[in-house]
Symmetry: C2
Subunit: 414 residues, 2 copies
């Protein structure tokens, strides 16, 4: 990709992130949380946000190499430390109505050499400190959007065996394609796409299923749905009526499982990058909502620590359906990055449920949320279970069944 072409794509990407991703309003400030490697994109987003009338763009940089230096060198009793003032600043900016863009793209195994126990303690402390801010985000109090930019470490993983420059270009291209930047008018293309996803969500909502039944190789899982569950897709809306798209790309329709009503066995269909480590070839068994067994060919310790983070880490907070013909699949076979892989395959998430995924969820106390079936946890980790062979049935309260997906494709309403 020549420099001019790439700059033009980055400019379109930035425009999309600002106007479709967070739907920035004139006068609204923007916060960008990003790794250093995304600097070329961040600069374009900053310019686009100011051009859209933002009074300030606050870029909060992080560096996986600095994090690694910590995990390899810091004193053993220091991993509960969190950056001073960070949580308060994020909460303050959310309360005054700033928009939030998070950029993902780290090497999926950035912390491979680090002790998973240290990483886990640090993530737990950070999650606790960010609880208030995270609650605001997970209840859509503010517009937020997660987008991606390549790093050399990530690009090498997705396109191995070629020089770094080529791998980076190939990954940029895959991302541009996945988020429809190759279309003549990406903003209009996104509007049409969001509408189509919302039609699918409406169809699922109209059917009022009580549970979903997933069947595939290694998977026989019944996922009960939360009381008054709401399927969502495409765009979200803040309480002030601001429309935003929380993930670029997004291909999913999703809702909240009932944290107590998940039973059976599930096999992950793709590797999971979490906490800077890869977990490969893993499966779990659920009893009454709880993971009672979990095995991984690689990354068992990381998986165990994730499940042990708190009680809610063993229960589901999200179930999402994605057709196996998702355009993400055409961009690359495997991204090793949840933002992409979760939009190429049906998935479930361990941990915190989105409060807006059930009627009354946003206003509910923690106890009331639990009664509805909404899970509470410091974590929210998606992992992919969908395959091109998977069948999904919708099961209603009276026990009748309806095909929702067949051989990986969405068929409800066909």
């Amino acid at each position: 990709m020549d420099h001019v072409t790439k700059e033009a794509f980055l400019q379109r990407y930035a425009f999309l992130a600002v106007h479709v991703g967070v739907g920035l309003k004139p006068g609204q400030r923007l916060v960008i949380r990003t790794p250093l490697d995304a600097a070329p994109l961040v600069r374009h987003i900053t310019a686009a946000a100011y051009q859209a009338g933002a009074p300030y763009v606050n870029v909060m940089w992080s560096d996986p190499e600095v994090a690694k230096a910590r995990f390899l060198n810091a004193p053993e009793d220091s991993f509960e430390e969190v950056p001073y003032g960070n949580a308060a600043a994020l909460e303050g900016m959310a309360l005054r109505g700033d928009a939030f863009i998070a950029i993902t793209g780290e090497d999926p195994e950035a912390l491979k050499e680090a002790d998973p126990a240290r990483v886990s303690r640090s993530r737990s402390a950070l999650s606790k400190s960010l609880k208030a801010w995270r609650k605001l985000q997970m209840s859509d109090a503010v517009p937020w959007s997660v987008i991606a930019a390549p790093s050399p470490g990530w690009a090498r993983k997705v396109f191995p065996g070629v020089p770094d420059d080529e791998a980076m270009d190939a990954l940029w291209n895959a991302i541009f394609q996945a988020i429809r930047l190759d279309q003549e008018d990406p903003v209009t293309a996104w509007q049409a796409h969001v509408d189509a996803l919302e039609t699918r969500a409406t169809l699922l909502n109209d059917n009022r299923f009580d549970a979903l039944h997933f069947r595939g190789e290694g998977t026989d899982l019944t996922v009960g749905l939360a009381k008054g569950h709401i399927w969502k897709a495409g765009a979200s809306v803040t309480k002030d009526g601001q429309s935003f798209v929380a993930n670029l790309p997004t291909e999913e329709v999703f809702t909240a499982p009932h944290a107590q009503r998940v039973n059976g066995t599930v096999r992950a269909s793709l590797p999971l990058s979490t906490a800077g480590h890869l977990i490969r070839d893993f499966s779990m068994r659920f009893e009454e909502g709880r993971v009672v067994e979990a095995h991984a060919r690689e990354g068992q310790e990381v998986l165990d620590r994730m499940l042990d983070m708190d009680e809610g880490a063993r229960r589901l907070g999200e179930v999402a359906l994605v057709s196996a013909d998702s355009p993400i699949r055409k961009a690359a076979e495997l991204f090793y990055n949840t933002l992409f892989d979760e939009n190429a395959a049906s998935h479930i998430a361990l941990g915190e449920a989105y409060r807006f995924s059930a009627e009354g969820g946003i206003e509910a106390s923690d106890e009331e949320a639990a009664a509805i079936g909404l899970n509470t946890s410091l974590i929210h980790v998606d992992f992919m279970i969908g395959t091109a062979e998977m069948d999904v049935d919708g099961v209603t309260a009276d026990g009748s069944r309806m095909p929702v997906m067949r051989s990986g494709a969405f068929v409800l309403g066909d």
Copy 2:
């Protein structure tokens, strides 16, 4: 420079910054304020700080390109905006006793295309917001050190007409040389250097001069000294007894002028990079401490805006003597960066005085400080006046004169 050699130098640099620069104690947290381009050095400093027992290293990144995008694109009424929570976090970290490393190295003309009025408004707002933290730093309440790392934009300026890679390597080399990393044991070399500078400061303190008289081409300036002024050099010490070196490199002995007793004309001997612009070939005339005339061949508007920042911006806050045979001169003729150029030439600073530069200054109220002659301002901008031809006399209260520098070289006590 091959990769291995450079990594070895970076490691020594990081060790020097942590152990000599801020003199980090086990259990003390470190804050690093840095542009993105310094990432390779930052990662080494982070590792060195953790190895020295820091429980946490908080890296606060900034990007001149993001700043530029703001100045070129943001709404006209937005330049008083400051990053949310930043000032409070810096103050909080200083109050709990963290150490602070600041890395300089931006392109000296990073904001060349930006409107100086916008830059000036933004810097004024930022300085106001950081007042409490800056006061803690300028009174040596915390250990702090300013160090440098090249950026391509800076390297191109110092070594023009060669490819970026070569210019970067040449600038790294010049920095390594300037901070004595080429010596067998840099920490011991620094101890000897600091001792020599402190001897020079003692000599000046013993003489109790009332004023200094600078004479050179275009310069005939009498700088009255603050009541009870104290010459400092080399290492500083916090009130808790922690030794640190506020600038790497440092070749100066410095004290506080009397803000009301500066008279005559001074010509800058080197260009000044400030607010992302260059000011070249400039001179000023002082009357009773105040700049009453200032002319620049290039950068007049930036110079005027600096002087108009507040009342104290037209008065001096520092006077510093540097021998013209400083080793910085051997590393490069002109750095376009104050950290280096101020250690290659005698200099004065407009704006805020260091409170520790006069007896009773730290405890003094603003009124008491003014009575001593200590200047107060939102700015503190050093500029170089020393040349290889300059003579400096010390003038005592009874009017007698003593040679302090002759033809740019320190001669007092010879």
